[in-house]
Symmetry: C2
Subunit: 644 residues, 2 copies
């Protein structure tokens, strides 16, 4: 068992890393963009599309109005960029909303930020993979019956790659990331060039489908809803600040460079997409109708035609969408680690696994997202509205925390920063309000249920740890209660090498040793065995020990009333304890150590079961001593160097 | 965790039984027929049907020839009855083929019998359930898509009932058993009466479908094959002798009564079915064609019409077929227990579970049969030919063993018994030969592969245990290698109540105590924690211990190179061992005992992991001491009665 599992583990997860290798596992900006940027960059695909979908009823007028919707979004993005630029410097270890709120707004708000972020990360994985697979399936309809399997397969791939390490994931996913960036920058660049040189009336290489006739006129409410929908383009911007601990030194420089690249590319893409859909007259199409094409696909064929570049661009976009879940796998475990160190999540979230990543967080994220995908059958459209709320709640809390941070700093110096973050806080709060109102009916109300539930969970965990801390705290100096050695009970099945070694050990610990043999279901063989054991005891134990001038250990033979052997031992231990005036009792259990998988099948694990039953019985005067015995060596007599 | 599991276990499996309740759990003949007879009684349905199916090409002549096929089968049944009647008396504890062969023919043959029986039992479960569900589905075609689910559901039901106890299974299954017996005895009785009173030409109440025209004439080979097929009617006869240990005293009388009832009813049914299909002109029908009706169904409607009795009879037959697997659940675990006691199967097969049945055997049988059902999708027709071979191989070995048994007995007295068993051995051997030859191509060759494979497995297990026995055997008298107490290493995370109790314990075991604290991934907090610990050590441990005039325990702080904490401890232990001239090292691990399920999620199980790593390291000089600490009590200071 162990051997095989270890080899399989090494194959899938790579070798176990030493603690000192931690620094070499960190990221620079090149890797950072791939590790943390996939979510943000992928947003350029669905943000404008979501806004245009809401503008569809306006017909041709919609593509004119899109500018009015996207302009505030791009502006908001720039404000966020400036804010996070500052946050990274102020909190270079972990600038996530949790830490910033904790330091500046107090636990109440930091937990709210943590809950919002955690929910958001889980949703991002499920929605990201499901949207990516949705796009893939609409390109290759033959895959239709395998949506769930594809989703779970991709989830498994991302999980394993991240268990190998953040560095591995960023290197592996760098290829599609930079292909996407390169090809789309070229596409929008050539589109903007064509538009500029044709006075805003470029001739499309492949003309987009005609826009539907208008059925509504523009209203403030419609534009607000389009704005709320378009705001999904901004999720993923906070990823860098949450993942700061993944960067190598100089950390702030690497983080800022990564943030600049991600936001820069995202901003260019969003602005030029908004401009170009107007020039080319590209609108959103109904996804449920055949012949559906995404906005970016129409844009690409309008600007560069449907040659190889088109396929490279659309293919890499698909990869970016599918892999956008990776951003969560970088951020979620690191967030959980910080929250766990503060005692609001189980401590296991804070333990670095074999590859120095927080494996428990990664696995937990994978399981939760897998459950969501499974429950929704791989189609998670219903979850999309929930998605932006967490992100904007996080933005707002983080910015508000920064406002307090700058107010505490010496005035004068931080005035500019204060205003930038105030602007950020106010605008994201307004956007949050618009999103909640606009999307309340489509499921945003669910967040109002889920986030408080997570909050309660975090607080319950913390209360438990506080109680444990209170109960285990000790400030009194050591006062020895009882310096007498314990009475040692040696559990034996027959007189063999295990019993020999156990007795030898027991007599070195205490002069009061009692051997216990248990009769199981009584039968005639059982009686023969008993007589044989008593005879051997006399010859092999009592006589030689007496000859050494020591008190000979007694042999006690107990009947078991059930098959469980701990009950008679406990009874005996309690009796000995009270008879001896409260002496401690040590139960010494010889155990044949199983080093091969088949031994688990061939040996009844009486020793381990007895040990855990004894420990679970709750008697604080009892201790359990394990004496290992190894089948593959020569037994107890061999390595015992004689006392010199 | 434990609490919930325990309650759920009690609900499903019933309360834990005490050893002394064993005698009350035993069966009488009434329960014995239901527990062990379902397989045998159900055979009356498929034995004649299988023979008639082979005679179908003879048309109307087939139903005449059936008498020639069934007569030797009934005769063989009577010979087997007489043989087993004797075997039960001779081996009243367990008269299975395994024991009889072991005592009389030696290990080689007894293992062959064990392998044949084990394979047979597993096949019987899969084939029995699958045939029963097949009959059910042909009656209710709407269930067609759920065959596998039905099979596995019934398997689960039978498994759980048998885990509750053989007594429970026999009581629950007595209803369909006796309904089946009563209704079919009435059916064949009224049929025979009608035939007798009409000179062998009874008028059917509902006439059976006309027989197909003959396409062949009878040949010896065809009749032999029909005989071989009909022999499946006899499987299940050995069940009583295998399950003898389940009967209460007087055991032989209960066993013989059970055997008589089962064989008596089976014989009456087989003989009268053979007679009546001739009188009424009832033949087998093609199962794959629509309108298929089984022979017993045709017979029932011909004799008593299709009123309520017909439905009771067919319904109870269905239950008997479906539950015929129960016979295996009585015999298999008891057989495995005997084989395990002899060391040819893992010892866990010999352990009585909470309800005093051999739970491991029951579960193993269920898993193997479940796998077969799963692999074959719930339709195990292909396995039927394998089925009779195991049974007849078992019959032959058991009879041959009895022959040797009687030859060893004083002559004169046992001459009749000797001849009965010789007749049994010869006839079953001939039948076995016919079955193997007739069914070789239909899959009987598989048995020739599977049984030797099981044999090898049994021998390998035995060789392993023999090796363990050889390596653990000890006959030398105890010679104390080292009477010095061990050096005790106390593993601690911080100075708290756990550490307090651990040190208190350690100092009672040895004067040489060293506390070990491990630095995990180093960080600034880690250093603070270290300084704090060193300060507390000075104040809370060193000073008070020195004040008592004892040597103060050292505190050693070790860095961990990986996250695994056993490595530095092992290194330290080895160094101490060699520095001290081979003294033993005890690693004392304080453990917070988890009594509730959520504690498993909230605490990192460092103590258990450390313990199993230390034990697995293979150092025979090392012992591990568990000091339990209970969160829900007041800690170490409380129940320590002061030494009086």
């Amino acid at each position: 068992m162990p051997g095989l599992v270890v080899r399989l583990g090494s194959l899938i997860l790579g070798r176990r890393l030493a603690n000192r290798e931690q620094e070499q596992r960190k990221l620079g900006a090149f890797e950072g963009v791939a590790a943390m940027g996939l979510d943000g960059l992928g947003s350029s695909a669905y943000g404008p599309e979501a806004a245009l979908t809401l503008l569809m009823p306006l017909g041709a007028a919609g593509v004119v109005w899109i500018g009015w919707v996207m302009a505030p979004i791009v502006a908001l993005l720039l404000i966020l960029f400036a804010s996070y630029w500052q946050t990274i410097r102020a909190y270079p270890n972990n600038g996530g909303a949790y830490i910033v709120s904790k330091e500046n707004l107090g636990t109440r708000f930091s937990l709210l930020a943590a809950a919002a972020l955690m929910v958001d990360y889980v949703l991002n994985v499920a929605v990201g993979i499901s949207a990516g697979v949705g796009a893939l399936v609409s390109a290759l309809p033959a895959l239709q019956p395998h949506i769930l399997a594809l989703c779970l397969g991709i989830l498994a791939l991302i999980t394993v790659v991240n268990l190998r390490g953040t560095l591995e994931s960023s290197r592996l996913f760098a290829v599609p990331t930079y292909l996407f960036v390169g090809s789309f920058l070229y596409i929008v660049g050539s589109g903007v060039f064509a538009a500029m040189t044709s006075a805003g009336q470029p001739r499309p290489v492949v003309p987009p489908p005609p826009l539907p006739p208008a059925t509504e006129v523009a209203s403030g409410w419609l534009l607000l809803r389009a704005f709320a929908a378009g705001c999904t383009a901004m999720t993923g911007v906070e990823a860098v600040s949450n993942g700061m601990s993944a960067f190598r030194e100089p950390r702030v420089a690497h983080g800022r460079r990564t943030l600049s690249v991600i936001v820069g590319i995202l901003g260019i893409l969003l602005a030029s997409i908004a401009y170009l859909v107007g020039c080319y007259g590209i609108g959103a199409m109904d996804q449920s109708k055949p012949g559906y094409r995404s906005v970016l696909s129409q844009l690409a064929s309008a600007t560069v035609g449907e040659g190889p570049l088109y396929y490279i661009a659309i293919g890499s976009l698909l990869c970016v969408l599918i892999l956008s879940a990776n951003t969560s796998f970088v951020g979620f475990p690191r967030l959980c680690r910080v929250v766990a160190v503060d005692g609001f999540l189980p401590k296991s979230f804070a333990i670095a696994g074999r590859r120095l990543v927080y494996s428990v967080g990664i696995l937990y994220l994978a399981v939760m997202a897998g459950l969501l995908l499974f429950v929704f059958g791989g189609i998670t459209d219903a979850l999309i509205p929930l998605f932006a709320i967490g992100a904007f709640l996080t933005f707002t809390l983080s910015q508000a925390g920064m406002v307090v941070h700058w107010r505490r700093a010496e005035h004068g110096q931080a005035r500019v920063q204060l205003w930038i973050n105030t602007l950020g806080a106010v605008t994201t709060a307004v956007a949050l309000l618009i999103i909640v109102v606009a999307k309340f009916k489509q499921g945003a109300w669910l967040t109002v249920v889920v986030i408080p539930a997570v909050l309660i969970l975090l607080r319950t965990v913390h209360a438990y740890y506080a109680e444990v801390e209170r109960r285990t705290r000790e400030s009194a100096p050591l006062h020895l209660h009882d310096t007498r050695p314990p009475i040692v009970l040696v559990v034996l099945e027959s007189w063999n090498k295990l019993a020999y070694k156990a007795l030898d050990m027991a007599l070195s610990l205490s002069a009061d040793v009692i051997a216990v043999h248990l009769l199981h279901l009584a039968g005639p063989e059982e009686q023969d065995h008993r007589r044989e054991l008593e005879r051997q005891w006399e010859v092999c134990v009592e006589r030689p020990v007496r000859a050494m001038g020591l008190a000979a250990p007694r042999l006690v033979i107990l009947p078991a009333s059930h098959r469980a052997i701990h009950e008679p031992i406990l009874k005996l231990a309690r009796k000995l304890e009270s008879d001896s005036g409260g002496r401690r009792i040590a139960v010494l259990i010889p155990e044949m150590i199983k080093l091969r998988w088949y031994q688990y099948l061939l040996h009844v694990d009486r020793s381990r079961r007895l040990r855990s039953r004894l420990l679970a019985c709750g008697d604080p005067q009892l201790l359990v001593i394990d004496v290992p015995w190894y089948l593959e060596r020569r037994g107890p007599a061999q390595p015992t160097t004689k006392p010199s």
